[in-house]
Subunit: 398 residues, 2 copies
């Protein structure tokens, strides 16, 4: 009768650990998300073992809750983002996205080849250096209440472009690795599909909502607009995976579309409890994937330090150069904002492990790098943003 017992215990532990970690981090003047990730690492398989590796495998309830959590997070970030504002920073965001992919990919493949990988394997390793995880940065920006800053908009716009390019790059290296050869026509079609999806949904959806969202104004009950946009969020998150993009891109677009409606403010308020319940699962699960055992040697730690340094510096350079039009301070903020790799690096590392490209140790190092960048960035970003002060913030919307 009570099969629910075990999973309820896990849910309780994950949720409470996230709150405690977040609280401790905030008392240490760190962003709460750092504490949540650290809490995940603490209760995860490598330390306390309250979460087992089986519980966070792909498709498990915790994994799905984490996915829903990050989808809702990016949805809520989209809710605070207007298409108009993104358009204004379009050029900078594009440059940041492109350079933020090319520089880490270049430096990553040089490092990998220098460490003894063949060129085709090096490109695979380098792919794990590429994709920024928008979730971590978005959460920091939201925690600090600076989503309306120009730098935030550049970061969010760049994250979309970054995801498109990372997806293409992954397609290339996987096809090179599988020996299937390189099919430029196929890649071009994939690229066109992804860009087409984003353009049609982003531009078209926002336009439709701006001109014709009156039907949302007289809801049958106070929650039907929320329910409609949540359905849109899940639907677009799904569809964006069909175009090879991350689910969070679709969720972000859904939020951006919903931000054009007159219910935008109500929706923001109603989304907050959803984030409070569900995003902790994402960050705790992310943290619990750090395998400390594999890193318990001087060699491994050295390699990890090198990989992490390359990952941070390369992304920082790419982002900084791309955002130079915002001035040095703004460009530094954008550069750091692009640094977290988070779960995307973890997923690429898993692919590499499954394809036999990586050893267990390289896998652990790349996973640890992805998560270290996710843990290092928030405090730095928070510090930079606090130092930059409110002066550069664009005017908040009504």
């Amino acid at each position: 009768m009570h099969h629910a017992s075990e999973i309820l215990f896990t849910l309780f532990v994950v949720f409470v650990a996230a709150q405690l970690g977040g609280e401790i981090a905030q008392r240490l003047k760190l962003p709460g998300v750092v504490g949540e990730i650290a809490a995940g690492c603490a209760i995860g398989p490598s330390l306390l073992g309250w979460i087992t590796p089986e519980q966070i495998a792909v498709g498990t309830p915790l994994d799905v809750l984490a996915e829903i959590g990050v989808v809702l997070l990016l949805f809520s970030v989209g809710l605070e983002t207007r298409l108009e504002d993104l358009k204004k920073v379009g050029k900078a965001a594009f440059l940041v996205g492109v350079l933020g992919v090319l520089v880490p990919f270049g430096m990553g493949s040089l490092w990998a080849h220098g460490s003894g990988f063949s060129w085709d394997k090096s490109l695979f390793v380098a792919a794990a250096f590429v994709a920024t995880s928008a979730g971590i940065t978005a959460r920091v920006l939201q925690e600090l209440g600076v989503l309306q800053r120009t730098e935030s908009k550049v970061i969010l716009g760049a994250a979309v472009i970054d995801d498109i390019l990372a997806m293409l790059l992954l397609g290339v290296v996987v096809s090179l690795q599988s020996g299937g050869g390189f099919d430029p026509l196929h890649l071009l079609l994939v690229l066109a599909g992804a860009i087409g999806f984003i353009a049609v949904i982003g531009l078209g959806g926002a336009r439709v909502m701006r001109w014709n969202s009156g039907w949302l104004d007289k809801p049958r009950n106070a929650h039907s607009p929320l329910v409609i946009v949540l359905a849109l969020c899940l639907g677009l998150a799904y569809v964006s995976t069909l175009f090879g993009l991350a689910a969070i891109i679709g969720a972000f677009l859904a939020g951006m579309i919903a931000s054009e409606t007159r219910q935008q403010h109500t929706l923001e308020k109603q989304t907050q409890p959803l984030l409070a319940l569900l995003t902790p699962f994402f960050f705790v699960v992310t943290g619990s994937k750090i395998d400390l055992q594999q890193l318990a040697s001087a060699d491994a730690l050295l390699a990890l330090a090198a990989v992490t340094a390359i990952a941070i510096v390369s992304k920082l350079i790419g982002g900084f150069l791309g955002a130079l039009s915002l001035g040095r301070r703004g460009a530094t903020i954008v550069g750091f904002g692009m640094v977290p790799r988070g779960e995307v690096g973890v997923v690429i590392a898993s692919l590499g492990l499954a394809a036999g490209v990586f050893s267990d140790r390289v896998y652990a190092i790349i996973v640890a790098m992805s998560l270290l960048t996710a843990m290092v960035t928030p405090p730095v970003l928070a510090w930079l943003l606090r130092r930059a002060g409110p002066a550069e913030a664009s005017a908040p919307r009504g």
Copy 2:
């Protein structure tokens, strides 16, 4: 990179089906929950097959989301329930709980024995007639906004007692069936544990909150009270399973404790979006468990009709007799409010199937009965409550 695709599609389909079903039901002047259950049946394995049996098995993401959904639902019902109000109806609730278990158990075992089951197996079958699923009725009462009525409080109080007795009864029949013999001392301990848990948490928790919840008044951020009570909800849901009770009992107690704080009104508002996102999963998953194929014969349908009639009539008699102090109309409302068996009957049927007591067909019939009672009740209850009018409602709280 996009493992999330399949599950996102399922989440989208379930969520949208629930909304469409709910909308259609409301246009037909039926409670929305009927439409959500019907939608689950439609997209489930026996009709469209958009949800497979594997996807709703115990411990799958959909099953866990459904569990979280019903836990949050009972939490929110608890938030609208004050201990004081429950105490006022204590005697009636106790009688309804006891008679609502004894009458169905008696009639169920007579029917089962008459249909050819041995006595020990008949008691097992009868156990599936017993447990009321508070989730369905709670949702109807909430949809109609009548949680403050005396009848609603009697139903909720009786549901707690019902769950204790059903748990004990299940313990007895399972031990009889497994040949382990009957251990009255053990059962007494189990009973004492369950009652002790509810008394300590319900009475003690409410008292602590009433006298000393000032620490919740100056939260670090607007969502910390919500986060604290959500942790309490998950924690008590878990602990109540340790005492052999349903998770929703703990969640209900957590809500009742939280209703004693000054944040009660804010918490109610913040819980609404959580319900909007998560309860549809519970009702759709419940509906998707109906296996229409097993019932596709005149014999099976006749048996189903008989079983369902006994289940409804016996519970109605028990509840009606127990609540006679509310007058005939009130007693009828309470009686019907106790009718839904929902997922509890499904779980008992699964136990019976696993223990070899039931054939596939008996299993399908009992599952269908559980869900039929869940589908039949809401419209009847809504009709009775609308006819009774607002006159008997107790004064709403500030």
